[in-house]
């Protein structure tokens, strides 16, 4: 478990270093995810401890967004002034994006889904 957490942190660290050094438009943690994925492909199995550590982090994942979300208190004025474009923009865009992506993916991969 401790070794697995170390591996996860190490992947993120390497991801951050590579993203920073090459000025890539992808954040360090996403590169870290790619790196860990490559390691798993090479090992051809998920070590038990890593499965537990990943499961634990993912179970708590919603909680991790609360501090950033609380940042809303910094922008009450701007949010009030632009309430209509921001609110309607977010709502319409989220609904349409989910519908378009979901329908397209279901249509393009039809027949394969039940395999």
């Amino acid at each position: 478990m401790l070794g697995s957490l170390t591996l996860i942190f190490l992947c993120q660290l390497v991801g951050e270093l590579v993203a920073g050094a090459l000025a890539l438009p992808v954040p360090g943690p996403v590169l870290g995810m790619v790196l860990l994925f490559v390691i798993l492909m090479l090992r051809r199995a998920v070590p038990e401890g890593l499965g537990q550590a990943a499961g634990g982090l993912q179970k708590a994942m919603s909680l991790l967004f609360v501090p950033a979300g609380t940042g809303v208190m910094l922008h009450f004025r701007l949010l009030g002034e632009a309430a209509l474009p921001l609110g309607l923009g977010l709502l319409v865009s989220t609904v349409v994006t989910i519908a378009v992506t979901g329908l397209l993916m279901a249509w393009l991969s039809r027949g394969k889904a039940d395999g």
Binding site: V26, V30, V72, V92, G102, L103
Partner: protein, 241 residues
């Protein structure tokens, strides 16, 4: 009187210590999760939204500023990075399924990414949003660090973008399943891909709770959309404005 004085001193000490705001964040999330379960997992009682409302209320009542709060909350915030890395595990477990639909994923993701950008810009422009508002809103569907960097590049307000990213995530987790049900999308990989494209990590966290296939596709979509938006949005912005 002495007791009150002690209490006051203790409060001053505690409210300046990271432990207090860290615990507040955890308690607020526990309370919001309890409400979510009690309410039959009604998406409108989204625990992230509930916890944010509770924390903001406590901070406003106690006159605490965000920087002080964040000194404690940063320990929770920090784990977002490792949690993102750990998404490689469900992705690896679902890899056979992912590889089989590689073309479908690429096409759906690119169309979804463009839809997210263009609908947000279109609606906000039609309803009178300023250039600053448009630039802050445009990258809202991608994970926060990428979205903030893009917003800065376009002349938006990065910290406003961070909030819009979170709201988009909560909104997608709240109404996404309903939208997909109405659209008749039942396939877990398509449902996950849609939620991850539109609402990044918060959507992914929600998808993981429901189904591992959906979670893996959502995590994959989150990573790919960060890349797609970072590459496409600055070009689109240059063409439009």
């Amino acid at each position: 009187m002495d007791d009150l004085g002690n209490l006051q001193e203790t409060w001053v000490y505690l409210s300046a210590s990271p432990l207090f705001h860290l615990t507040l964040t955890l308690l607020a999330f526990q309370a919001a999760s309890w409400l979510f379960e009690k309410g039959g997992r009604n998406p409108l009682l989204n625990p992230v939204l509930g916890a944010v409302v509770l924390v903001v209320a406590v901070l406003l009542v106690t006159g605490t500023d965000y920087a002080t709060y964040f000194e404690g909350a940063q320990f929770v915030h920090f784990l977002l990075g490792p949690a993102t890395v750990s998404l490689a595990v469900p992705l690896y477990r679902q890899w056979r399924l992912v590889r089989r639909s590689a073309l479908a994923i690429t096409v759906s993701l690119l169309c979804g990414s463009l839809t997210a950008i263009l609908t947000a810009l279109g609606v906000a422009w039609l309803t009178g949003g300023s250039a600053e508002v448009l630039a802050s809103l445009a990258p809202k569907s991608v994970t926060a660090p990428v979205a903030m960097a893009i917003a800065e590049e376009l002349g938006g307000v990065p910290s406003l973008t961070a909030v819009l990213v979170i709201v988009t995530g909560i909104l997608g987790a709240m109404i996404g399943p309903m939208v997909l049900n109405i659209a008749g999308v039942r396939d877990w990989s398509a449902r996950g891909l849609a939620i991850g494209t539109a609402s990044h990590g918060i959507g992914t966290a929600r998808a993981l709770q429901v189904n591992e296939t959906a979670g893996a596709f959502a995590g994959l979509a989150m990573g790919l959309n960060a890349l797609a938006t970072a590459l496409l949005l600055p070009i689109l912005w240059g063409l439009l404005f």
